[in-house]
Amino acid sequence: MLAYIIRRLASTVLVMGIVAVFVFLLLHLSPGDPAAIIAGDNATNEQIAGIRKQLGLDDALPIQFFRWVSAVLQGDLGISIFSNEPVAKLISQRIEPTLSLALTTLTVAVTLAVSFGVLAAWKVGSWIDRSLMVVSVLGFSVPVFVVGYMLIYVFSINLRWLPVQGYSPIDQGVGPWIERLILPSIALGLAYVALIARITRTSMLEVLAEDYIRTANAKGVATRSVLLKHALKNAGVPIVTVIGIGVALLIGGVVITETVFNIPGVGRLVVDAISKRDYPIIQGVILIFSGVYVLVNLLVDLSYTLLDPRIRY
């Protein structure tokens, strides 16, 4: 097991290395020049050239790449071209809102989705099953930003129950913190609920058709116990896999949700950086996102051993 974890961690480094090369080349070979954006609309070619030289963007690509990689290897993600602040500092300022949004979304989505999935499988073919599946299809089909605007319109503009936008750090009180996360979490979580609920239902239906479930029912085991103890645990592997895959979906959704609800998280940071061509920020964030994604998948793989003792690495 330990050897497996070490092997996987080593492969994480390799994956991040490949991501680093890919992201660097993608950014630097695609059109866009931060110097031209910094200089402003009224600037001349001469002024733009001066800024480009000062930023070191005139150097050959391999030189720029090795400068960046050697700094990253020393734990330095670089300095933002526009704000002149260290990228690590900018990311650390933005990590709390993103983590808060991701964790509340995951918690709410997994709780609701698994419940819905189990319920739909239990009542398969009934109006409850059909209704839950219709809702899940809708949740998966409607874009995050549409859900976001609709929620803002109803709950913030009309009913005035919740704020439109922004983020309140948890150290300024749990009340304001949760108040500003409710709508974004619902908007972001809807697609996630739909995805997990459908997989849970399918997986549960498969398990509920197994002999040992029939035996449990014949023995007179309570339905709740059959569903949650016998069936759900055995249906868990595909559900956990989808939750892991869904982290990528979540990362993409976080970017849009943070924009719609004006949450100053890492997603907003990278979107703004892309429009400005702030290379060090984009490179730093994508590197971290890729690392997180690889690690989440490692955790998912390891969790299989808890759900199914037959699985060994």
């Binding site: 954006i37 609309d41 009224n42 001349t44 503009i157 704020p163 004006n262 703004d272 429009s275």
Partner: protein
């Protein structure tokens, strides 16, 4: 025994400990009643307003720094940091004396040496300053409060240049900051202006925080644009970066923000019906939308082809696409200097009075020897003007029988590609569209797009010797009347050699909560002095 519950408890305890120092260290915040939260037209990215020509950096500059002179509401320069100034009889020496009590935010007095260094750094970057500096022999410091600008020849635009409201504005910095290489960004944000930049509370990309400068001594005259007393009646102003227009608008309607500089312009009529909001145009000179033509490559290396574009462009179409069918927030304009400005005139505008004429354009393209090669039109799909303007330009050109390559991209890519002098087929371009504020467009010196000195000119790089002679003549004309007369010649020549084609002049409405009063209108900058926040709303 370690259980999941104990791990969870440990995690919660750790989270509580992590957040504890912030709670303990929390500082008293200015009350919401004296804080204005504003969403501006762009996110502030560069804090050095001399290094960049970006308008949002000029806004930041107006908060933090002060100017020697300021333009008033009638576009007349008025002393601001200066108390007295004079011009020698031979019109070669300007002498300036600073007001008493001027202090930087670090408590150091503002001296003449600071101002000389600031003027010199600004002049190295700004078009108006560069033109002035070509005639400056020396800038001696007389004493702590007095300095001079000594010219080699009389130059009527010295005071106008120092009070320019076109980016970059001539902001006064500390000598040690102003001595930074003009090609490098000043790191500190210590000015002597009405607001202090609160770096601790600022979160780049999210919020920029400005606190009232308690040591600022405003002039006694009433505030008027960049002139008069900049009396701060708020404790704090924050520039909130809300990238999504719909979210910003919802936040304004819900009272979460107080001021929204550029709301979606097609919704202005609806906003005017909201009893909680004031909707007003702050920049009365508006913005000019124009299509820049690349004079280096065919077909627009021929004046006839450029002139053909005058007959193709239909300003009404572009403006209606942006502002809606019923909006009165724009006008078609034929002046080379924006309409409603001191240099506006009617010379050589037959094309404008005539209106769109596809046949005439075809004839001019044929005369220019158009060879059928695709004309590359840059279209920034994320830009409110460059997107529809690109589409319309392509359509007009096709109607005139021109092959078009409509290159779709984002604005970031457009500003890079427009700097390329390569042939259009090799990554260059023929046409791009952008906007400039009316007051800048009206100034043959400050607007770099008015230069026609070939490879050194603004993108498009036109060459026209007469234009350069007239610009020089305009700059040295001693009176406004003299400059207005030369402006006619400039316009006559301009619409003959056609460096760009106007797509309309428009006036963007700003909106704010009804409890905000004392908002000062001016071109290029939004000032937060004089502004008050009432209790209701």
């Amino acid at each position: 025994m370690t259980t999941r519950r104990s791990i969870l408890k440990g995690g919660l305890a750790a989270a509580a400990l992590t957040s504890a120092p912030s709670v303990i260290g929390a500082k008293a915040q200015p009350s919401a009643a004296r804080t204005v939260k504003a969403v501006m037209h762009a996110d502030l990215r560069v804090l050095d307003p001399i290094w960049t020509t970006a308008n949002i950096s000029a806004y930041h500059g107006a908060m933090v720094y002060d100017t020697l002179f300021g333009l008033d509401g009638d576009f007349k320069p008025q002393p601001q940091m200066v108390t007295k100034w004079g011009l020698s009889d031979d019109k070669l020496t300007y002498t300036f004396e600073l007001r008493d009590g001027l202090k930087f935010h670090d408590d150091a007095a503002v001296t003449a040496a600071d101002c000389v260094a600031s003027v010199r750094r600004w002049a190295a970057r700004a078009a108006a300053g560069q033109s002035m500096m070509q005639r400056v022999k020396d800038t001696p410091v007389v004493d702590d409060k007095t300095f001079r600008i000594v010219l080699t020849e009389p130059y009527g635009l010295v005071i106008d240049s120092l009070s320019t409201i076109s980016t970059s504005l001539c902001y006064m910095m500390r000598k040690k900051d102003a001595e930074t290489d003009p090609n490098q960004q000043v790191r500190d944000t210590i000015g002597s202006g009405p607001f202090l930049y609160n770096r601790d509370e600022t979160r780049p990309g999210n919020r920029h925080v400005y606190d009232r400068n308690p040591n600022y001594h405003p002039r006694s005259e009433p505030a008027s644009a960049m002139a008069g007393g900049k009396v701060v009646k708020l404790d704090r102003v924050t520039f909130e970066n809300i990238a999504d227009e719909q979210t910003a608008l919802s936040a304004l309607q819900a009272g979460e923000i107080d001021f929204y500089e550029v709301p979606p312009q097609d919704l202005i009529d609806d906003l005017k019906k909201d009893k909680n909001l004031t909707v007003e145009v702050l920049n009365k000179t508006g913005h000019v939308a124009f299509m820049r033509l690349n004079s280096l490559h065919p077909p627009f290396n021929k004046p006839d082809a450029r002139k053909a574009m005058l007959y193709l462009a239909k300003q009404d179409d572009v403006m209606r696409a942006i502002f809606g069918q019923t909006s009165k927030s724009w006008q078609a304009c034929g002046s080379y200097f924006a309409c409603g400005t001191p240099m506006t005139n009617d010379e050589n505008t037959e094309w404008f009075k005539h209106g769109q004429d596809i046949a005439k354009a075809k004839e001019l393209f044929a005369k220019a020897g158009y060879d059928g090669k695709p004309v590359v039109v840059l279209q920034a799909t994320d830009h409110y003007l460059a997107n529809p303007a690109g589409l319309f330009a392509a359509q007009w050109l096709r109607q005139a029988g021109i092959n078009v390559d409509l290159a779709a991209m984002d604005w970031g890519a457009l500003v890079t590609r427009r700097a390329s002098k390569k042939p259009p087929a090799e990554g260059g371009w023929n046409i791009f569209s952008t906007t400039v504020t009316g007051i800048t467009f009206a100034d043959p010196i400050s607007f770099t797009g008015q230069a026609a000195n070939g490879e050194k000119a603004w993108f498009g790089w036109p060459t026209n010797e007469l234009q350069e002679q007239l610009r020089n003549k305009w700059a040295t004309a001693p009176t406004l009347e003299g400059r207005q007369a030369i402006a006619k010649d400039l316009q006559k020549n301009g619409w003959d050699y056609v460096p760009h084609v106007i797509l309309g002049q428009f006036y963007r409405n700003s909106t704010w909560r009804k409890n905000i009063t004392g908002v000062i209108g001016m071109p290029e900058v939004v000032g937060f002095w004089n502004m008050e926040k009432g209790v209701s709303g």
